[in-house]
């Protein structure tokens, strides 16, 4: 009696788990299904869950090199490369700056360091739309509109606080005694960071790196306002334009969305544990 009840509970909770996974996945599945459908099939057969004919032409088209300058494929490729460059450089920049900043906040007796870290987090609260107008005028004055460099600068500034936050809460858990011994042995701060802190903090550096990369990859609003040509336009901006321009070509639109999902999906699959730990570490006091 008792065991059969337990078994039933187990089955029920597994069904529940499947339901949760289902709801998380259906919109993504549906988009994928559309991306491999023929437009004609979308309009004729309404009541179906699976495409009647499978068609990978959209994926081929988006990756094909021999396309005109105004083609979707060209715009997709250019903006995807822009996005990769911007996200990668931003991530490296933020990691370097955040390591030094977090170490200083945690280990050096910098005056007002508590207040500094408060202000750092305050910027995280700003809705991006609040920043967009002053940034637009500022960058316009300096001739920095429509440049990858400006997007790197802004994304780095926006993500630095979170990276410092994660790293400093991790540094706090590292034993100070090792560093003290190193100082006695004549190590400078740079050497301590390079030889002791960095090797010990790999998980935290991974976590903050992933978060910065994802946030930059996903950023839309600022890139929308500050870019207007393929020189600096990012993938999200291109996708939003596809949606406006190609109202008919749903499959192509869905394909670009699915492809934009690949880097985030990659990080989720490989670094799932880091991601969950990163979101909660430092956020909650022990």
């Amino acid at each position: 009696m008792e065991t059969s009840k337990k078994k039933l509970n187990k089955v029920l909770s597994f069904i529940l788990i499947i339901v949760i996974a289902f709801f998380s996945f259906v919109p993504i599945y549906w988009t994928f299904a559309i991306s491999i459908s023929y437009t004609a099939d979308l309009q004729t057969t309404t009541n179906r869950w699976f495409p009647p004919r499978i068609n990978f032409n959209n994926y081929k088209e988006i990756f094909s090199p021999s396309q005109g300058v105004y083609s979707v494929a060209y715009e997709f490729q250019r903006t995807a490369i822009n996005s990769i460059i911007i996200a990668t450089i931003t991530t490296l920049l933020v990691l370097i700056m955040a390591t030094f900043a977090a170490y200083s906040i945690e280990r050096l007796k910098v005056p007002f360091r508590k207040m500094i870290s408060y202000f750092v987090i305050l910027t995280q609260m700003l809705p991006p739309v609040v920043l967009v107008i002053p940034l637009y005028f500022l960058f316009n004055n300096f001739g920095l509109l429509d440049k990858k460099f400006s997007l790197i600068l802004i994304n780095a500034a926006l993500n630095l606080p979170f990276a410092i936050w994660i790293l400093s809460s991790y540094f706090r858990t590292l034993p100070v005694s090792v560093e003290d011994a190193a100082i006695v042995d004549g190590c400078g701060y740079f050497e301590i960071i390079w030889r002791i802190i960095l090797p010990l903090s790999k998980p935290a550096i991974f976590t903050s790196g992933i978060f910065v990369f994802l946030a930059t990859w996903n950023e839309f609003q600022i890139a929308l306002v500050l870019t207007n040509s393929l020189k600096a336009k990012t993938l999200p901006v291109a996708i939003s334009e596809f949606m406006g321009r190609f109202l008919i070509d749903y499959p192509l639109m869905a394909t670009s969305g699915i492809l934009a999902l690949i880097p985030p999906a990659f990080f989720v699959v490989i670094f799932q544990k880091y991601l969950i730990a990163g979101l909660t570490s430092g956020a909650v006091k022990e």
Binding site: I17, M125, V132, I239, S240, Q272, L279, A283, K285
Partner: protein
């Protein structure tokens, strides 16, 4: 650009503008839905997922997807789901025999706002689930063992151990979700453009529209500043109520 200072005229104009307040109320709907539904739902999902079962890493990965995907892709997914002619929602409802004619989700003023709130909630719930999953994993196993030995029922364990220990995470979610949801933009920009008839405008969209589509930079800047003050006040109030439990500030 020439600047003519006109004092606080822009601020008065914004504060007297019924459209501004309408957008503000819409934004509040998004926030309230995310807090009142997203947080409890996320907690339940995390409780369900925090067990031993086959394919756990895969399923947790799938559940993280909505949180991690670019907001613009989220908007795109829901545009395809709400599509009246061949969207997932209408196809399913017709298949189940619940409706006969397709429903125009994003074109009817009454439905559009709800449709957008649900699309936003999908991402918001995933976020709460992940935070709570991290939290639940941090609870020492011995605590559950001890309560089992003391003969506590499952419900009592949940009430006296799990929920109190999750309080810091709940406070964190309250603050984060309020801040994050106040930023909502992509879904509105791409799915409805604030329409039909202004029924789905939110603050971020209104500021963007005023500045970069109507080119009223002064008014838009005033809106930005007012929004900033409102968010700061809300966070301050949270901090007063929740005390030091959430160390976000």
């Amino acid at each position: 650009m020439n600047l003519n200072f006109i004092g606080l005229a822009n601020y008065f104009e914004v504060l007297k503008d019924p459209d501004w307040w309408k957008a503000f109320v819409h934004t509040l709907y998004f926030v309230v839905a995310d807090v009142m539904v997203g947080i409890p739902l996320g907690f339940l999902c995390a409780l369900t997922l925090n067990k031993k079962y086959p394919l756990k890493p895969l399923i947790v990965g799938i559940v993280m997807f909505p949180y991690i995907l670019p907001p613009i892709v989220n908007a795109l997914l829901w545009k395809l789901i709400y599509n009246p002619d061949y969207g997932f929602l209408n196809s399913t409802l017709i298949n189940l025999g619940l409706i006969k004619d397709p429903i125009y989700w994003l074109i009817s003023p009454n439905l559009a706002l709800i449709a957008l709130i649900i699309a936003n909630l999908w991402q918001g719930t995933a976020f709460a689930t992940i935070i709570y999953l991290g939290g639940l994993q941090s609870i020492p196993f011995e605590l559950y063992e001890a309560s089992k030995i003391d003969g506590a029922t499952k419900r009592k364990t949940l009430r006296y151990i799990t929920i109190p220990l999750m309080k810091p995470y709940t406070s964190l979610l309250l603050v984060m979700k309020t801040i994050l949801t106040f930023k909502i933009f992509e879904i509105v920009y791409l799915l409805t453009g604030g329409g039909p008839g202004g029924s789905t405008t939110v603050v971020s969209y209104q500021i963007y529209h005023a500045a970069f589509e109507a080119f009223k930079f002064g008014k838009a800047s005033a809106m930005s500043y007012i929004l900033l003050c409102i968010v700061a006040i809300i966070v301050f109030v949270y901090q007063k109520i929740l005390g030091s439990e959430s160390s976000i500030l």
